[in-house]
Symmetry: C2
Subunit: 122 residues, 2 copies
Amino acid sequence: MQRDTRQRRAIRRVFTTAGRPLTLDEILEYGQRIVPSLGVATVYRNVKTLVREGWLSGVKFPGGGLRYELADRPHHHHFLCNSCDQAFDVHRCPDEVETLAPDGFEVDSHELILFGRCAACA
Amino acid sequence: MQRDTRQRRAIRRVFTTAGRPLTLDEILEYGQRIVPSLGVATVYRNVKTLVREGWLSGVKFPGGGLRYELADRPHHHHFLCNSCDQAFDVHRCPDEVETLAPDGFEVDSHELILFGRCAACA
DNA sequence: ACCGTAATGATAACGGTTTATCGCCCCCTG
DNA sequence: CAGGGGGCGATAAACCGTTATCATTACGGT
């Protein structure tokens, strides 16, 4: 049976207020501002559970940094700041993308990542 | 001083014949077909050297899988097969990409990855 | 062909990230 | 509000890709 703990509420709140993909470190840091005792293991456990429940989804960024974001968002892409390493959503998408593949290749999905400096760092 | 060993020649040959980004495991596997005794450490060492020399460049794929490809290729993107996990080059590129970022964001570069099934798997 | 030395390769060590452990805590139900 | 059990959190341990070690091999200048 699933309990509604302070920690789990904090983690959910972190995502609903952040509005961008977060690393586990970011989740821990922001979560500890709500529940200072929050530990690493709890973050890993709850994120895993929230992904299984379909509330969060993992976003794989180049370089191995796995981040998480709310799962119910519509199709979008991401911007990764070279300066502060924060990820942001990009809501526009070039639509002819799926036609770029070589002949005989079947495209299921695509991912577009922009790199540069975010508004705060620029 | 830099020696021209069988192993190093084999690794270079693997890339010139593959024509697509390779993981370290793939380099090892294909290299061992030329020099069966080829070891992991040698692959790591030579790949690192070839990157430093500017002959190879690293390609970071989502999920952390770092792959390598010839460095002198013009701007292009990649296709990753969900079935065989091989990466392929995609030479066409949607050109209005850099305009998609939110206001105030400066785009330096971008990466586009298509996912699906390659010609051999489809 | 010889010799000095860089390169190789089997293996151990490393570092970081993720998972397991386990005593204590606190959420929930009765 | 009391008791049971799931959750927490500090720590240890597992994991995995990469690098260091070191005896041996073999490239290449003489």
